[in-house]
């Protein structure tokens, strides 16, 4: 479903990814591990098309990323590191904007049913400004419940969640993969899920890059 072939990525003149490849098939879950600053968020941004890698290709459902630019929302759901929530709107209004952007129309009743999953029904009219960090994360994860795409990509979804919500998250993920979906996410907490594969990103030694640069431009 998702295929990443030999990605080379530079950021701030440092090589972050070197010949990185990944294959994610149906009913599979891949967990990305790595230290802080090693490039997990950059990798996920590259997969979703926000950053262009120096070389390498990404295929989603067999099609290259360039071809599916305008149909991305129908093929995968990405939950990035930032909560993309507007501060002066309530939870309900934020979710309604998300549904509008994804061209999904659901009845109010169904929306409220899904709010109950993460215990958000009682606070659905509160402004996002007044929520705690964990509650904002729960709202961001609720967006997953409304998507009907098979591929889910998440960046540190368990950040700030309490024990109850982590259990709910585990149930949702297992349900999704059983139904034929695939999940790729990065985390530094072990979620104790039935994960198909754990991939660790390592910090790349940049001496080679530095030497290449000095070969090109001359030593100091």
């Amino acid at each position: 479903m998702l295929e990443v072939k030999s990605i080379y990525l530079n950021r701030n003149k440092k090589q972050i990814l070197s010949n990185f490849s990944l294959t994610l098939k149906k009913k599979n879950m891949i967990l990305l591990l790595g230290d802080n600053g090693v490039g997990k968020s950059s990798l996920l941004d590259t997969i979703t098309g926000l950053i262009k890698p120096q070389s390498g290709e990404i295929f989603i459902e067999g099609k290259p990323l360039k071809e599916i630019e305008s149909k991305k929302k129908k093929l995968f759901t990405y939950i990035p590191h930032e909560n993309c929530l507007r501060d002066n709107f309530s939870i309900e209004e934020n979710i309604k904007i998300w549904l509008l952007l994804n061209s999904i129309s659901i009845d109010d009743k169904d929306i409220f049913k899904k709010f109950n999953i993460f215990d958000l029904f009682d606070i659905k009219d509160q402004l996002v400004n007044n929520l705690s960090h964990g509650q904002k994360k729960k709202v961001t994860l609720t967006k997953l419940l409304f998507s009907n795409t098979k591929l889910w990509i998440m960046d540190e979804p368990l950040n700030g969640l309490d024990q109850k919500s982590v259990k709910v998250f585990k149930v949702i993920c297992e349900k999704h993969t059983k139904a034929g979906g695939a999940i790729l996410f990065s985390s530094h907490i072990d979620p104790k899920l039935k994960i198909t594969k754990k991939m660790t990103l390592h910090k790349i030694n940049n001496i080679k890059i530095t030497n290449e640069f000095f070969n090109k431009w001359g030593k100091l």
């Binding site: 926000l50 930032e82 507007r86 501060d87 002066n88 904007i97 509008l100």
Partner: protein
């Protein structure tokens, strides 16, 4: 086209809620006018002759100062990123934001221009002419100030750079708008109107390309 419609609907939803912004813009406008009136003195003749220059200058300053509001929050909470990975192209995002900014500026000035002209003793027919000049030049001004806001999105310290960037490009518009005000003959009015419209036609494709480049820059 449907994508653009969705984005515009989202922008209008945001506009409807942010009444405080409009109030801030209007109060700055009125306050600046009052200060000018006090610094010039009670002579209505002088006041009515400098009405148009002051009006234009205050509109320009308030455009540059409030252009931030339309794009800063979206950048900070990750919504700009979200719109891009949902498959909306950067051009569509830019056009939607400039349409919403244009609407809010035109609507607020629709009430403010007659109000401030009362203090300066201007006739009704002249107000119509002034509003017409403002209408023709406002799309170009909105596009330019949105671009300057995009330039200064990632600058943390000296945000006044927006003024320096956008001033050279405002100058031709101010020149022709004020010459349209001064010369009242049919012929020269037509020429200036065509020139201002020509500026809009040049600025539109240029600013869309540059807006796209700048929005893609914010991801790096």
């Amino acid at each position: 086209m449907n994508d653009l419609g969705i984005l515009v609907r989202r922008e209008f939803k945001i506009l409807l809620v942010s009444v405080k912004q409009v109030l801030a813009y209007s109060s700055f406008f009125l306050l600046a006018f009052l200060l000018f009136a006090f610094s010039v003195g009670p002579n209505l003749k002088i006041l009515s002759s400098i009405y148009f220059p002051i009006l234009f200058m205050i509109i320009l300053f308030s455009l540059i100062l409030t252009a931030d509001n339309f794009i800063d929050e979206d950048f900070k909470n990750g919504s700009l990123k979200e719109l891009q990975f949902l498959g909306f192209s950067a051009e569509q995002i830019f056009i939607a934001k400039s349409l919403s900014m244009l609407l809010s500026i035109v609507l607020s000035n629709f009430f403010l221009i007659p109000l401030t002209s009362l203090f300066f003793g201007i006739n009704f027919s002249i107000i119509l002419n002034i509003f017409f000049i403002f209408l023709i030049s406002s799309p170009t001004l909105v596009l330019l100030s949105l671009i300057s806001a995009l330039f200064s999105l990632q600058i943390k310290r000296n945000k006044f750079i927006q003024f320096i960037i956008v001033t050279p490009f405002f100058i031709p518009i101010i020149i022709f708008a004020s010459s349209m005000n001064i010369s009242n003959t049919e012929n020269s009015n037509n020429v200036n109107f065509l020139i201002l419209f020509g500026f809009f036609l040049i600025t539109l494709p240029l600013s869309i390309i540059i807006g796209k480049l700048l929005i893609k820059e914010t991801n790096q």
